[in-house]
């Protein structure tokens, strides 16, 4: 049986590009509202959780009451929504051979790189999801799962390659393993700090 991938939460342009690239690598790819198809397939090898959405408009300067309401909604939908997606699909990932979860995110979620004041809601939500990914990695890596975090920021060209290629792993020498740590990378494979 071929490998199954499911992509959700990525902008249409990225969904199309990553689907095409994964299909070329032999995956059967399902997207967004095709979750039922994944259930019918009975397993999932690669889950791609996108964290892309049009951020609510920023008020100039200090956020007002409406901006806080919007932020609460975004947190519920995108941060906790991501938790829910992983939770829902975990039983299928458990049955897959690859057991890989990839988050397609943005450098806007990096606290240490942030020198700006804009896109505040989006940055806050993304940072929280990065924490979720980190907690998840600590939980699932000992069970054989691997994870990827890709800051697309509009560049989807190398996402599928990054999601599918294994990284250095020598069980006898943990220092040589890039699978035993979780990192954010941009399209050029450069590490972005948390």
């Amino acid at each position: 049986m071929c490998k199954i991938a499911y992509i959700t939460g990525v902008f249409p342009e990225g969904t199309a590009r990553i689907s095409r690239d994964l299909s070329a690598k032999g995956y059967a790819v399902y997207t967004n509202d095709q979750k039922d198809c994944v259930w019918r397939a009975g397993k999932l090898d690669l889950l791609v959780c996108g964290l892309e959405w049009d951020a609510s408009p920023e008020t100039a300067g200090a956020p007002d009451e409406a901006a806080y309401d919007a932020l609460l909604g975004e947190y519920e939908r995108y941060a906790l929504g991501t938790v829910q997606v992983v939770h829902d699909l975990l039983p299928l990932l458990q049955k897959g051979e690859q057991k890989r979860i990839a988050f397609l995110t943005s450098r806007d979620g990096s606290n240490q790189m942030c020198r700006e004041t804009g896109k505040s809601g989006k940055r806050i939500v993304l940072a929280a999801v990065h924490m979720f990914a980190s907690l998840l990695f600590n939980e699932l890596r000992p069970q054989g799962y691997t994870m990827r975090m890709y800051c697309a920021d509009g560049d989807y060209r190398y996402a599928a390659e990054y999601f599918t290629r294994d990284r250095s792993y020598e069980p006898e020498d943990p220092k040589h393993s890039d699978e035993n740590r979780l990192v954010l990378r941009d399209a050029f494979s450069c590490e972005i700090p948390w």
């Binding site: 941060a79 975990l90 940072a127 907690l135």
Partner: protein, 236 residues
């Protein structure tokens, strides 16, 4: 007389911070979340002029607005704001098991959103004061050294808070605001609902260190650094 506002002041670290500032001669506005808990009232008997109790639920926008108005009616200047109120996401469950994400949302509403809104409400009073914005965060929000596993809405909320503080820092530090980001250590407080018997430090000890950090003058105000109760620096 300098003025400090402290949220989540009923017990734990918040109450200990109130005591410290009162002993130092500050005027303290203490955010009271649990009027049924007697300790703040007892403290008020000791400091009837300097301590003012303000009903405050930082997770409720109306309560925040009302509290801010009450403070505005009493003073023109707030020198120090200490955002201390915080909750765990107890009962949210575990990934792969039963989950109740409304608890995780509550943690975000109180720990991150409530803090950001409190800052917004207090800023007009802080323009002419000492401009000290203090935040009680946690190592639990630090992704760089994240050792927990599974799922934790509390950790996520503190990471969100740290990002919110970063954004405030970028906006307000150039205007002369001084930021203090504090991890109080593993305290024997009430976060689980009753006084914890495990933990490494009492709230009173942690509060002493916090106050010394909050009040010290730094010639490195253009750096946002999280320090803990041992004066160690934590990466985010």
């Amino acid at each position: 007389m300098k003025t400090v506002v402290i949220t989540g002041a009923d017990r734990g670290l918040g109450l200990a911070l109130c005591r410290e500032f009162l002993e130092k001669g500050y005027r303290v506005f203490a955010g009271q979340f649990m009027p049924e808990w007697p300790e703040l009232d007892r403290l008020r008997l000791q400091y009837p002029d300097a301590l003012q109790l303000i009903a405050l639920d930082v997770g409720n926008p109306e309560s925040l607005a009302k509290a801010a108005e009450e403070i505005r009616n009493c003073t023109d200047v707030v020198d120090i704001l200490i955002n201390n109120a915080g909750i765990t996401a107890r009962g949210e469950g575990a990934i792969g098991g039963e989950m109740d994400l409304s608890r995780s949302l509550d943690a975000f509403r109180v720990n991150c959103l409530g803090t950001m809104q409190m800052v917004r409400h207090m800023l007009p009073l802080m323009q002419t004061g000492e401009k000290r914005l203090c935040f009680i965060s946690s190592e639990a929000g630090s992704i760089s050294v994240c050792a927990r596993n599974g799922f934790s809405g509390y950790c996520m909320s503190k990471t969100a808070l740290n990002m919110g503080i970063r954004l405030l820092f970028n906006r307000l530090q150039p205007q002369g605001y001084r930021f203090r980001l504090y991890h109080p250590g593993w305290m024997r407080t009430y976060m689980s609902g009753k006084k914890s018997t495990v933990g490494k430090i009492e709230a009173e000890e942690s509060a002493r260190v916090a106050v010394s950090q909050f009040l010290e003058d730094r010639d490195w105000e253009d750096r946002l650094v999280m320090l803990d109760c041992y004066n160690q620096a934590w990466p985010f």
